[in-house]
């Protein structure tokens, strides 16, 4: 049974802006839960709250028996939460090192053991490296392992981020716009990849996405945000025909659409 991720009546204010207004969301284990909404609806803010990065103004967030609003983010990672970012964050490291970071919480060696390179630390590092190579193989990054991550093409960088999140072997995976900025072909590849990963393991996925086609083909459940509020929640098909949803998208002069960053 997977860890449960749930937010109840969450409000987040930035000064006068209410980025989230009384938002409740419950992610059922094992599914793919899409969060959609126009620009500025509060999707990324919701992810930042779920992953413990933003404090809430009010409301409760629970992940696997942890009170998210009181736990620092690294604790949530240990409990099985991993995420990617809308704006890629990789740092000046090689692809291999970037992905290895994901395995941080699965390895143990501290300052002293690392400085001395004890046999234990070396064995641990080797195992971590192997699983990273394995992941890189699966995501088509094997040839780029020793290149500086930020120098890769955009689509590859997105995949490095995904690989890093997967390296953490999460039970719940938060993906903030995994195909934004990709061309049609890359998008299809990524969609397929996510479907495969989901089918293979029992990773729960929460997905922010503007691409309705992708949402409809992947998601098992869908929550729609607009101006920080949940305006619809249900199956993707139900949501796609919900009048409020159509109005929200038309109101912001976008039908459910494709987005470039």
């Amino acid at each position: 049974m997977n860890a449960q991720l749930r937010a109840e009546q969450v409000t987040v204010s930035f000064g006068a802006v209410k980025a989230l207004d009384d938002v409740s969301i419950s992610v059922s284990p094992g599914g793919i839960h899409a969060v959609i909404g126009p620009n500025g609806a509060g999707k990324s803010t919701l992810f930042n709250v779920l992953s413990g990065v933003y404090p809430v103004t009010s409301g409760t967030v629970v992940f696997a028996d942890l009170d998210v609003t009181k736990s620092r983010p690294h604790k949530l990672v240990r409990a099985g939460l991993a995420r990617t970012y809308q704006n890629i964050v990789l740092g000046h490291v090689t692809v291999e090192e970037a992905i290895l970071l994901g395995r941080h919480h699965l390895t143990r060696a501290g300052f002293l053991r690392c400085a001395l390179r004890t046999p234990g630390a070396r064995a641990e590092a080797k195992a971590a490296r192997q699983s990273v190579h394995h992941l890189a193989e699966m995501l088509g990054l094997a040839d780029s392992l020793h290149r500086i991550a930020t120098e890769l093409p955009y689509g590859d960088q997105k995949r490095v981020e995904l690989a890093r999140a997967l390296a953490a072997e999460p039970e719940v995976l938060l993906l903030d716009e995994p195909v934004a900025g990709m061309n049609g072909h890359e998008k299809d590849e990524m969609t397929e990849l996510l479907a495969t990963i989901h089918a293979r393991g029992d990773t729960t996925m929460v997905l922010v996405e503007h691409d309705m086609r992708m949402v409809l083909s992947l998601a098992t459940h869908c929550t729609v945000l607009d101006f920080g509020r949940v305006i619809a929640d249900g199956s993707p098909a139900y949501v796609a025909s919900h009048p409020e949803v159509l109005r929200a998208y038309l109101g912001s002069a976008h039908a459910p659409r494709e987005v470039t960053p």
Partner: protein, 296 residues
């Protein structure tokens, strides 16, 4: 009682000078996320400029030349060096300003040698007798100056177009671009303003009751950093409060040094730094600084 009053008054007036320096630091930080370690030396530079020119041209003319020159120099530091690395990590930018500081300070050290350069302020050694206490006119004028600067900065920030643009830049680059001002223009203006403030601060700092212009000025000016941190890196109000607080604390510690003998001689000089550590432990972003959005 009058001992305490005079300590407070002198503390406020010293603090006023720190506040002038810290205000410049805040302006720079707000616009460009740079903490300028060049600033102590800019204070020295200002004092040096006034000190070298005032014999020939008189104090007022010297000041009228020195302030724009210092402003221009500070602005050009930003224009030619820092703006090239706009957006780099704050630590890298701070290190860059340390490098600039080393060069400028070496030049000034070389120029000054071991001489003491005197500034002949028109108010000289005059002391103002305020009934309960007296203070040097030099520091009294500094105090008035800070009040004037605070009011004008407030007006500039809330009324004038470039003040608004400056605020826009510190909050959002795009908004400023819409107003037709480039980021570089704004940051350079903030550096220039800070340079002018540093020059004025240096002019006061190298006057009574302290001796003239020596390289010590650059070291003493470092006490504006505690002022900056106590107030909060990005708060103009904080810089003024922090500066005054530091000045008063230092003055009290010096005034009661006999009672504080057990803390060692020269304790007053480190009081600003102790105060800063205390504030940081209690409030990592200072008294008025904006908090970090994220928690990690």
């Amino acid at each position: 009682m009058s001992h305490l009053t005079s300590l407070l008054l002198n503390g406020l007036s010293t603090g006023a000078v720190y506040a002038l320096i810290a205000l410049g630091l805040v302006l720079i930080y707000k616009c460009s996320q740079v903490v300028s370690f060049t600033h102590g030396t800019l204070v020295l530079l200002g004092a040096y400029l006034v000190g070298t020119m005032d014999d020939a041209s008189g104090f007022i003319v010297a000041l009228l030349i020195a302030v724009p020159v210092a402003a221009g120099f500070a602005g050009s530091i930003n224009l030619t060096l820092l703006s090239r690395r706009a957006g780099a990590p704050p630590v890298s930018l701070a290190i860059l300003t340390i490098g600039i500081d080393l060069v400028v300070l070496s030049v000034l050290t070389q120029q000054l040698g071991s001489n003491v350069l005197n500034i002949s302020h028109p108010w000289g050694e005059t002391r103002w007798d305020l009934g309960v206490a007296s203070m040097s006119a030099n520091r009294g004028i500094a105090l008035l100056m800070v009040a004037a600067v605070a009011v004008s900065l407030y007006l500039i920030f809330t009324r004038s177009p470039w003040g608004l643009a400056m605020r826009a830049v510190s909050e959002d680059t795009e908004a400023a671009a819409l107003m037709g001002l480039s980021r570089t223009t704004i940051t350079t203006l903030s550096w220039a303003t800070a340079g002018a403030l540093a020059c004025i601060a240096g002019m006061f700092m190298a006057g009574p009751p302290t001796p003239g212009v020596t390289t010590t000025v650059a070291v003493v000016a470092l006490r504006a950093f505690p002022a900056l941190i106590i107030g909060g890196l990005d708060s103009l109000r904080g810089a003024i409060v922090g500066g005054l607080l530091i000045g008063v604390a230092e003055s009290l510690a010096a005034g009661y040094q006999h009672e504080l003998q057990f803390m060692g001689s020269g304790f007053a000089e480190i009081v600003p730094f102790l105060l800063m550590l205390g504030v940081l432990v209690a409030r990592p972003s200072g008294l008025f600084g904006s908090r970090e959005m994220t928690r990690v």
